[in-house]
């Protein structure tokens, strides 16, 4: 019985790992990059100055002035106060019909930054929903959720079968050297960061729990997700459909920010939400930053927008809300600074490599024996190349697109994203047409060269790597240097594969 349980878990581990591994590699890779989403966005927007020291009251005056002139009829304004991580002044406004617009300004001069880009947010979106807006089409979001669940199942079944593998660990099998090497790689990358793998897979589900299994919302909120989210977030939003009151100027925001910071006992404010601006029922909600706390839910103070009186401080929340926001925060990692982010990045790379090693192991285990379904096996080999190397090509192609596409072009965001998906599609076709080994060598070389060559494009936007280093622009420089290190590794793997192939071709002769 015990023996057969281990065998069924081995079967489950193999097949759930193979089918979801193709999706998971891309999700984990973009998630790993998304750890540094704010750094990538900063890199993608060379116009943003990082050496600013804006006076907050003046920055808020710039923001207010811009919104009064450009978003007078909006249902809500959002002002994101600049921080060292996001040094531009970001303004977002939502129209009564739900459409929202984002603009970034220089926090000292008020100059508009024309470039439209998602930057690092693209990787965040792909990681969470495969880049498909879940409010329009939930497919991508549900696939990622299923992949997260599958990852947990693979972790548990992997632990069950590992007991046997541990015994095999000390058996020397020189004839199966390649297979054994991949097995050992997969084991090491799985076991050492196992708590990270399982924690991230579970907290990823917790992050948007209500959207995966909405039964609780159905039972207690009659299926009204918006009503549930208002209750869960305890936000002081004004309904878009409610008619705003008569015209009444909203009070000056700067004193409210000072009072909010006093009310929550220190720590800077980052977000200001003004609902129904300049109307009688205006509400102002100010959010504390969350970079020094694990919880994904910042302290919030709400004010009456017309009188400026404090309506409600929201500092303590119920146990369930707090638990969920801490689990979500552990996943989202806005806390812990660069040390924590680098640790997450390295663990994330290990997750990617674990999946890659597993997919390659599936092929290595079977390539010496006769396979039952040659067409299926051939498809697995091609999909492996596209899912692993092709995904890496797609990610670095996105970076190239950010540098190559001019900032003035209309529909720029969609165009940049097209580079990602087009590069991936080309890799998929290429993997299908080329012999397996050649496809690996060529796609890894391409990804490696594109990574290594990324700094070549910096001069084109006035931010060359030497200039970044000379001016102490460490965030942008780190993006390019990290790309170069990854590129060197990928190129080295590609060259090694090419050498092995040449040697075995000589042997065959």
């Amino acid at each position: 019985m015990k023996e057969s349980f281990t065998r069924s878990m081995a079967w489950l581990h193999t097949w759930i790992g193979l089918l979801f591994g193709w999706v998971l590699f891309g999700v984990l890779l973009t998630g790993t990059l998304a750890v540094f989403y704010s750094a990538i966005t900063l890199w993608a927007m060379p116009e943003i100055r990082t050496d600013t020291h804006p006076d907050r009251a003046r920055t808020l005056a710039i923001a207010r002035d811009y919104l009064e002139h450009n978003a007078a009829g909006a249902q809500q304004w959002r002002i994101v106060i600049p921080t060292p991580r996001e040094p531009a002044l970001r303004l977002v406004w939502t129209q009564p019909d739900g459409r929202s617009t984002t603009r970034q300004l220089d926090p000292e001069t008020g100059a508009l930054i024309a470039r439209q880009t998602d930057g690092g947010l693209f990787f965040l979106a792909y990681h969470a929903t495969l880049g498909i807006n879940r409010h329009i089409n939930p497919t991508g979001h549900l696939i990622v959720g299923a992949a997260g669940l599958a990852m947990l199942v693979a972790c548990i079944s992997g632990i069950v079968i590992h007991k046997r593998i541990f015994r095999d660990f000390f058996v020397f099998r020189p004839r199966a050297a390649r297979q054994r090497a991949w097995m050992d790689t997969h084991n090491m990358l799985s076991v050492l960061p196992l708590p990270f793998h399982m924690m991230m897979a579970y907290t990823g589900l917790v992050l948007l729990y209500y959207a995966y299994i909405p039964a609780g919302v159905t039972m207690l909120y009659a299926g009204d997700t918006d009503a549930y989210l208002r209750a869960a977030s305890q936000a002081e939003y004004r309904e878009p459909q409610t008619a705003p009151g008569n015209f009444r100027p909203t009070v000056s925001l700067s004193p409210l920010v000072d009072r909010a910071e006093k009310a929550w006992g220190g720590g800077p404010a980052v977000n200001i939400y003004v609902s129904h601006p300049n109307h009688a029922d205006a509400a102002v909600e100010i959010w504390r930053w969350r970079d020094d706390r694990i919880s994904n839910y910042p302290d919030r103070i709400a004010f009456d927008g017309t009188t400026g009186s404090m309506v409600r401080p929201l500092l303590r929340r119920s146990a369930g809300r707090q638990t969920q926001s801490i689990l979500a925060g552990v996943h989202f990692i806005e806390w812990g600074g660069n040390t924590a982010r680098w640790l997450y990045f390295l663990c994330g790379l290990m997750s990617c490599a674990m999946v890659a090693a597993a997919l390659i192991l599936f092929v290595a285990k079977r390539e010496r024996k006769p396979v039952a379904h040659p067409a299926f096996f051939r498809m697995v080999r091609s999909l492996n190349v596209a899912a692993i190397a092709g995904n890496m090509v797609a990610c670095i192609a996105f970076f190239w697109a950010e540098r190559l596409i001019s900032p003035e072009i209309a529909g720029r965001k969609a165009l940049v994203e097209t580079y990602f998906f087009a590069a991936w599609l080309v890799c998929l076709v290429h993997a299908g047409l080329r012999p397996d080994r050649r496809a690996w060598i060529e796609q890894l070389a391409l990804a490696g060269l594109l990574c290594l060559g990324l700094p070549l494009l910096g001069g084109h936007v006035g931010r060359s790597l030497p200039h970044l280093l000379a001016t102490g622009d460490w965030t942008r420089a780190a993006v390019e240097l990290t790309a170069m290190v990854i590129g060197a590794v990928l190129l080295a793997i590609s060259v090694r594969l090419a050498l092995i192939e040449r040697l075995s071709a000589q042997d065959a002769r």
Partner: protein, 91 residues
């Protein structure tokens, strides 16, 4: 699951693990949300975040129970029981 499992059985187990697992965890979340006597938002959070663990349990069970018939019996039974509890406690 030996190598010589029929494709039909594999399809059956995949259906039990995927749609079956979702049905049980959906019913679990609905039932727990109304049974646990706490703040409604906390109840939804607790019910849903434990439902993921139920889902994982069903997937593992779907590929380890020897009899497919028994597997479907368990899944239908658990869904009906939890769904029934949800409706009883809501009323």
């Amino acid at each position: 699951l030996a190598a010589a499992v029929s494709p039909g059985e594999i399809v059956a187990r995949v259906l039990a693990a995927g749609p079956g697992g979702y049905a049980v965890s959906y019913a679990w979340a609905g039932a727990m949300a109304v049974i646990v006597p706490i703040d409604p938002v906390d109840a939804v959070i607790t019910a849903t975040c434990t439902a993921f663990l139920v889902f994982i349990g069903v997937v593992i069970r779907a590929f380890s129970v020897a009899s497919v018939q028994r597997l479907f019996g368990e899944i239908v039974g658990a869904t009906l029981l939890l769904g029934g509890l949800a409706l009883v406690f809501r009323a």
